[in-house]
């Protein structure tokens, strides 16, 4: 069988931790899928640095392109370039982190390679079938990909990041001549602008500690006054329940749950979150869960390791103070 191609996701050359989780999944797939090698492709500014770094993780051959077509992520050119790299490196499978761009581009890759795709994979069985969540994580499906070419997106929280391993040394620029349509980019439109959250805290998806706030905060001001300092006392990322985001207490991309981010930190502290099933889908694989809620019957306590039934406006600031004391 052919090789497995890893789509190396990075920011300006810095490889995302989730890419290493996707690689861990690719390593598990290697034997059951009878792949000879794991190879990789990186695109965009800093791609060469990212590609080279991955040779230190056991990839035998990598391609990169810093062509202007890839300066900003767009589904169409990225998918075409990934498919080109797969063909050039004799890969019959493509594995990528299920980030927003991974989710966006990989189905297009699947069409270009006539592949079968499994999304958000959380486990690999010895026979090469895959495990993935359905119904907001309430059901785990065991799926078999029936096509000879395959595409997989990986849920990073389900795989520990791959460690260093001796790889190859072949790192070269991806030739783009093989796909004339790549150069017809104007017909795929253009990026008009971005509105990104300030990144002065860890990235929610791979933070070691997450503090999330819910509807009980009551206002955006309270969310900021109570949740921000608690998170900062732990160096944590901030999350929110759907209700809190719907009420405008927190930006959309902080939402933890079935339709938002899926997180699995070492420590997850929920403040004033009742624990709707869609929220639990996004955090129940956290190592240690703490819930603060004044309703003793809130469903969040059914998954929490430690529950504190109390008024959050009293205990959250107290907890912040004590944690600050521990740090200093």
């Amino acid at each position: 069988m052919g090789n497995i191609l890893l789509f190396i996701q990075h920011v300006d050359g810095k490889v995302l931790k989730g890419t290493l989780s996707a690689l861990a999944a690719a390593r598990e797939l290697k034997v059951p899928w009878q792949a000879e090698q794991i190879v990789g492709v990186a695109l965009g500014s800093g791609a060469q640095v990212a590609a080279k770094e991955m040779l230190g993780y056991g990839l035998t051959s990598v391609r990169y392109s810093e062509n202007g077509l890839f300066e900003k992520y767009r589904a169409e050119p990225y998918a075409r370039a990934i498919a080109l790299a797969a063909k050039e490196l004799s890969a019959t499978s493509v594995v990528a982190l299920a980030s927003s761009s991974g989710k966006d581009a990989l189905p297009r890759v699947a069409v270009l390679l006539e592949a079968a795709q499994a999304s958000d994979v959380i486990g690999v069985n010895p026979d090469g079938s895959l495990r993935r969540p359905m119904y907001a994580g309430n059901i785990i499906a065991e799926v078999e990909l029936l096509a000879p070419t395959r595409v997989v997106t990986v849920r990073s929280t389900a795989f520990s990041p791959a460690t260093l391993e001796v790889g190859g040394s072949e790192c070269s620029e991806l030739g783009l001549a093989g796909d004339p349509e790549l150069h017809e980019q104007p017909r795929f439109g253009e990026i008009v602008g971005y509105e990104m959250s300030k990144a002065d805290r860890p990235e929610l998806s791979d933070a070691a500690v997450v503090v999330s706030g819910g509807r009980a905060l009551g206002s955006a001001e309270n969310f900021e006054k109570v949740v921000y300092p608690l998170a900062d006392s732990l160096g944590a990322a901030i999350g929110a329940s759907r209700a809190a985001v719907d009420s405008g207490y927190a930006p959309n991309d902080w939402q933890v749950g079935q339709t938002g981010k899926v997180v699995a930190p070492n420590l997850y502290i929920s403040v004033g979150i009742s624990g709707a099933i869609q929220h639990l889908a996004g955090m129940k694989d956290s190592k240690v869960i703490v819930a603060i809620n004044k309703d003793p019957d809130a469903p969040i306590f059914e998954v929490a390791d430690y529950g504190l039934v109390a008024d959050l406006f009293t205990v959250a600031p107290e907890l912040t103070e004590k944690l600050r004391g521990l740090r200093s």
Partner: protein, 249 residues
């Protein structure tokens, strides 16, 4: 312009799902079905675009057994104009759906495909992208704002870390995220009127689409439940257990 809105019916998300004893599927007998939450948002957005002017017709399409008709009629009652049901009783996956939707698109002179970013049963989040790739059209997935301006659409997309705004020419494929809009309820009189709207039942064969799937679901299971922990009495006790028992501080 005509908009094609593919929709899927899914089990009501408020249900506690039960598996068949052999794990081959979920128990569907007598359960309540709803329009996939994200597809309902797509239907609503199409209606709003039509209300603003410039949209001539909203056509729904779905793949599934006869009783999907009821969900299509609900979307018609919301304000869509006509519906196509591709009758299919066997297993289906995103790939099969995308091949069928692409063929319907080719027959209808559509300017836009508007559908949910994922179905809340399979949670695959593939169909919109697959349709776009099959038709070699631009895509704008995970939309939280859609503005049509002449021959182009400006779409704000929810991406990791924030929002990205792109402008894509028509025709294009747009997938809807949670906060694009709040769908209206279909009023009872409209539900009656919806039964009189054009409703076409066709087959995969008539579209020239094979019923093969690329993903086989072998078995379903429920994840091992996380066991509830215990209550602590004070902030001090919480800090103590986090430090000494859980060792996470």
């Amino acid at each position: 312009m005509k908009i094609l809105v593919p929709v899927k019916r899914v089990p009501d998300w408020q249900l506690k799902l039960k598996l068949l004893p052999d794990g081959s599927g979920i128990q569907t007998e007598g359960i309540k079905w709803i329009l996939n939450t994200f597809d309902e948002i797509a239907v609503e957005e199409a209606i709003r675009l039509k209300e603003k002017g410039g949209v001539s017709e909203i056509v729904l399409v779905s793949i599934g057994p006869d009783d999907v008709r009821a969900r299509l009629e609900y979307a018609l009652a919301m304000g869509a104009d006509s519906a196509i049901l591709i009758k299919h009783d066997g297993p289906a996956d995103s790939d099969l759906a995308s091949r069928a939707i692409a063929e319907v698109f080719k027959k209808g002179d559509y300017a836009m495909v508007l559908l949910g970013k994922q179905a809340i049963d399979s949670d695959a989040s593939q169909t919109a992208q697959l349709v776009a790739a099959r038709l070699n059209l631009p895509q704008a997935c995970f939309a939280s704002k859609v503005v049509v301006d002449g021959g182009a659409v400006t779409v704000t997309r929810e991406v990791d870390g924030g929002l990205e705004t792109i402008k894509v020419p028509l025709p294009c494929v747009i997938s809807t995220d949670l906060r694009l809009n709040e769908p209206r309820y279909a009023a009872l009189p409209n539900l009656m009127k919806a039964k009189k709207k054009p409703f076409e039942v066709i087959t995969l064969e008539s579209l020239g689409v094979s019923s093969d799937v690329k993903v086989k679901v072998r078995k379903l299971s429920t994840p091992s439940a996380r066991k509830a922990g215990r209550k602590v009495a004070s902030v001090q006790e919480l800090v103590d257990v986090l430090q000494n028992e859980a060792k996470v501080l």
